[in-house]
Every structure is written in C-alpha cells, then in structure tokens.
Symmetry: C2
Subunit: 386 residues, 2 copies
C-alpha cells in the first residue's frame, strides 16, 4: 500500500443556506479544496452523503456532483454510513490512493438538511436507526442518546453540569471558527436550563440541523512532496472502520460505543500511535454525552472519567487533550454526510498551524472520529504533519 | 495492486417478495455466496443500494447488514450510484482487495422496491435523474429512454421490431433461469402491442420493479488458488467506472452513452482485452433500447447496428456474442441496487460452466456493464476463468 497525504482542504460556511442547493454547496467546498491543493485535475472522487433522497429527492450524487464540478467523466462514488458517511468517503479515497488505482482523489461530504419541511428532518435522520425495531416504536436520536446519558450518569456519576460543560467548551471553540453555524458562546446554566428534548438532554445538548459541505484532496505521499503548495503536508497514518449492532437494545452496555473502540484500535495499530501521542481530536459530539463516551472509548481518559476530564478543562484548547477545537458538531454544525470530512478539514488546519485563535500549540498528530446513528458504525483517522 | 478473484456468488430468487424484508433478502444472498466460497469469515463488506431511504425508510445499511449477517464489527460500507450501485460495490471490493487492506471481502447489492405504495416507486427511481432540471418538469425514466429510442430510430433506422426482439431474446434466456422474476416467454407481437408507456416504449420494453439481492466473495488471486472450493475461480481482469452529465438535455448525442464508453475503455485497457475477445456480456437493459445502445458502445457492434445484430440472432445464446444470458434486467428483474452484482453472479456461473440450459459454450471471458440513471454513471468489469 502506498502512503497517502492530504494536500488540500476546503469547506463552505455551514448554516441554514436557503439560497443554495446541495450541488452549490458541494461545488463551493470542492473548489476551495482544489485551490488549496493547487492541483489542475482530479482522478476520481468519493462523496459521503447520508440521505439526499429523503432530504432533497436526489440520489445519484456520483454523477450529479462530478457533472456540476466539471470533473466528469472521472470515476465517482457516493458512500453512505449514516452520519459517518463523510469519514467513510475519506477512507474510500485513502484506499483508492493506497491501492495505486488513482493518484489525485477528491473526498467530500455534503448534506442539505433544511429544504425538508415539518417532521421531515427528524424522519430522515431516524433512518440511521433500526427502522423496524426502534423507529417504528417511536424513538428518535435524542431519545437513544438520552438512554446512554442516563446509563453513564447512573454507572459513573456523570453530572448534568459535566454534560453542559461539553457544550460550553465547544461553543467557546466555535466562537473562534468563522465557518461555524452557531458561534455564540453559552453558559453551563443556559445549557442545563434550555428546553428539555429527551431527559436529561436539553436542546443545547443536541447538535443542530445544518446545510454544509467539506472536501479534501488526497494523493500519494511521494507526489505530495513534489506538488504540495501548503507546508507541511499532512499524512494519513491510520484508518479504521468498524460496525456495531444498529439497534441500541441489542447491546450489553450503553456506556461504551464498541464500533468506535474497534475502529480506533485499527487506526492506532496502523499508525503505530498510542492515545497519549494524539495532540488533538475532532470527535462526533452529536449530543454532549457522545463526546464524553467517545473520549473514553478512544483511550484519552479512563472509562467513566470523560465528564470529569471535560469539567477540569483538559479537553479545552490549552488543555492536555484538546477536543473539537473547531466547535464540533454542537457549534460548527452537523450536516450529517459532511461532518466526517469537516473534522479532517479542522485537523489539517491545526497540523499546518493555520487555525489562528483556535491553534493548538505544537500540534503534530491529530485524530478524527466520525460515527453513524447511535454508534452502529464508526470511522477513525489519524493524521500527522509531514 | 494485487490480482483479485471471485471465489463465491449467491443470489436469492428475485420477484415481489412480500414476505421478506430488505435485511432478509440480503442475508439470504450473502449466506449463499459465503457457502459457495466456502469461507469461514469475511474481512470487510460493500453493499450497493440505490435508495433504501425512499423505498423502506432505512439508511445506514453498512451497520444494519453487517449486524444481521452476524459479520460485525467488520468494516462495512454502503455505496450508491443509482442503478449502478451494485457494480460500484464490486469495484470498491476490488480496490479494497487490490490495495492489500482486506483479504476476503463480501460485495453485494440489495433493493426492496415493492413495499412502497402509490407512485412511490416511480418517485424513488426518479431521484436518479436531475431532480431540479428533469424530474421537476415531469419526465421520468421511460420518457428519458424513449427520447433515446426515438433518436436512435431516426438516426440509424432502428425498428420497433428490433426493440421487441431484445425483450423476446431476454425473456427466452430468463425462461431458463430459475431465479428470474418474469421467466415467461414473449413474442415480438406481444412486446410491440403491449400497453404504451412512453412512445415508442411499451410496458414490455421496460424492466420491472423487483425485490432482490446478490452477493459475491472476493479475495486475492494467490489466496483463491489455495482456498477456492469451486473451480475454475474467476479473476477480475478489468474494472472501469466513469460518469457523464446526469441530465440528458446536457448531452450532444442521445444515441451513445459516454460513461459506458469511458468505463469500458478503462476496463479493456486494464484487462488488455478487446471487445472481440469477450465471450458473453451482461448489460444494463433497463429498457430494450438501452441494450441496443450499450452493445454498440461496448464495441461489440458498429454504432447504429445493435438493433440489426439483435434481430439476426447474434446476441442470443449460441450466437456470436451472447448478451444477457441470465434474462437481463427485463426478465430476471431489476432490484436497482442489486442488479450490478446479479450480473457478476451470472458471468461467474457462465465462466465456471454452471449455467446449465443457459450455458455459453467455451466461455472464458465475460463482461458486465451496469449503469446509473439515464447513463450518468457506468461501471464495467471484465472477468476471466482462471
């Protein structure tokens, strides 16, 4: 397998983009990534998108987006693993370049979520859960993550304040990110006392509905050394993907996400890196409790101590293990299919030292963890400045 | 890149499977493929599905199907390129094995199309076209392919009878396939005089709505030599994927499908094979006119002579270039995401000499051509008996 580098990234401003369509926001991000990389062509492309069929009545993004990017007739694929679709697109591009099949590959993610009315977005998102055994009985994602939160609170003493602290920290980070959907800062009290969605999760524990896209350009490391415009280039040193039962009720323990554990194991092994070597991570905080569980499952903190670590400031910029310096899904936004690529965009900016007010000092190794549904799938990547 | 073999295939009986769900039919086919290959585990999986979100309200098939197959926590991806999703899954598995990332990979396709009521299936399928510029104005797929048919008839003198002959030949082949949805034979007169759908295409020019799945097991050729139960194994010697404009109105010529031309060029080049070396092919006859255009675009016949070649019997079993020995989409059925893998199942059976009444004598090299929408994407594979 060839070593793979990321030589360019691009992302539009995420938010409620009423004036733009799915194809517009994808092309905008793709052109930013192509410009950042300074390449004149691409050999193939992979786009992560969860459910453009339900959100905007459009499948066949492989053809549509290659067409509107002006990249046809190149090979093009849309990949889907619910909210982990973007991370999966990065992995597919990684394998494509590693195999020798393609040299310069565009990987992207996109979701246009605000064009659907009524309960449409809640229904569309619910298709990431088990339709026949979970959704049919009325539960949706805030409910599923509330079960995890209750379980974690019961078992480890995680507190309401610790959940809020995740949101406070991520909005603080997002306030420094000009591309974030909700850059406003919030307080512990505001989060704890905002509208209850699924006890104990309030609306400020939940990530928002977002329109957005993000893209990156991959190529072999040997080629990156010659053509990369931005220095340092970033090497993908580990890639892991794993699955778990799609339904929460099939799991023995609600306080761990085993697909994340397995995907991280595979990525750490490939990268020959340990959790303590990771300088920063972007993780899938679709709900505040998710960030707490994930930071434990990635081996950053002992099981049950993620809440305390957050409260102590360890996960803040300037802390020992900065998490979601971009603002995370909470503040930056969560256009589901784009999120995994958006995470990579942030890590690349950090490793290149371009993150300005959000910059983590001496960042050399970054990790992304992207997750589908209630953790039925996960994709982990580890990147290093070259 | 490592050489890649197909060591097992499996497919359920396609049709209107009211008593089975999407997960049921996928697992049924996957277990048949695993049994055929005689393997005890798989390392990763790729599933092609066009729009389970719109057909059954279920995305996140990566997790769901790995879970229900009992294959978790392995890496798993769902890929989509409209009706070419199955072919794309085969290509992703091919790249995965070729790269060295995985050894034993399951590739599959599935679609459950009959659970949706009213105009639901027509709407779901229309999402393979350009939603904003084609579907919005009321055209659906029979209309798009009718435009191609009219253009081909006008330019090359292709006749109503030649279109019908495609259906007659494919139903004749399908009558010998115990897994076909519509194994009944039809006559030229029946096809020509059946209900008009979009002039000149009658209902018997159109492929049906189908529930079905198909799977194959891939591994490195060197491993296949040791572990393959069935002889000969089949080697994938060429893989091509290409795109075209998603909308028909953006093309200069309706009588050629350029994504198919480009995907075939790439596959022929990789395989170092010419069209005349191909002993049989499964092609994407979603409408009768599509088979005529595709057999020209694959280089089997000169442009404009596909209709005549069909009429002369050249594409029948026993003819010079047997096309769609399985019955094709027309007779075997067209569960959109599964179709591309179903094509591979047929070619593998042919190359292993297991096709019984449908067997092409001395078949050594087979080709599959799978296509999305009105040809906005295409995937071509070339396989050879080892």
């Amino acid at each position: 397998m060839r070593d793979v580098a990321i030589i360019g990234v691009g992302m539009n401003k995420w938010g409620e983009l009423w004036q733009k369509s799915l194809r517009d926001i994808f092309v905008e991000s793709a052109l930013l990534a192509i410009e950042d990389a300074g390449v004149g062509h691409i050999d193939s492309m992979y786009v992560g998108c969860m459910t453009s069929g339900l959100f905007v009545g459009q499948e066949h993004l492989s053809s549509l987006l290659a067409d509107y990017l002006g990249a046809g007739p190149i090979p093009s694929a849309r990949v889907e693993s619910a909210c982990a679709s973007g991370g999966l697109a990065v992995r597919m591009g990684f394998i494509d370049v590693a195999s020798g099949m393609s040299d310069i590959v565009l990987v992207g993610g996109v979701e246009k979520m605000t064009d659907v009315g009524g309960d449409g977005a809640t229904y569309a998102l619910s298709t990431a859960a088990d339709q026949e055994y979970e959704v049919y009985h009325g539960i949706t994602f805030p409910g599923l993550y509330a079960l995890m939160a209750r379980s974690h609170m019961e078992k480890f003493g995680t507190t309401r304040e610790q959940l809020s602290q995740v949101a406070v920290k991520n909005h603080e980070n997002g306030s420094k990110n000009p591309l974030a959907q909700f850059p406003q800062k919030v307080t512990v009290e505001q989060v704890s006392k905002s509208i209850m969605i699924a006890d104990p999760l309030t609306i400020l524990d939940c990530s928002p509905i977002t329109d957005g896209a993000a893209c990156a350009i991959l190529c072999p490391v040997e080629m990156a050394k010659k053509i990369s415009k931005k220095k340092p280039s970033v090497k993908i040193i580990g890639s892991g993907n794993a699955t778990d039962t799609i339904a929460l009720h099939s799991r023995k323990d609600f306080t761990t996400l085993s697909a994340t554990v397995k995907a991280a194991e595979a990525a750490y092994k490939m990268a020959n890196v340990k959790p303590e070597n990771v300088d920063l991570a972007e993780v899938h905080d679709c709900f505040t409790i998710a960030e707490i569980i994930i930071t434990e499952d990635l081996g950053f903190f002992k099981k049950g101590e993620g809440g305390k670590a957050t409260q102590s400031g360890m996960t803040a910029i300037g802390g020992k293990k900065p998490i979601n310096t971009s603002g995370g899904l909470k503040s930056k936004g969560h256009p589901v299919g784009a999120t995994g690529v958006g995470q990579v965009v942030e890590v690349v900016h950090q490793l290149r030292g371009e993150a300005k007010d959000r910059q983590v000092k001496d960042a050399k190794i970054g990790l992304t963890q992207n997750m589908g549904g209630s953790g039925g799938s996960a994709v982990v990547h580890i990147m290093q400045a070259m």
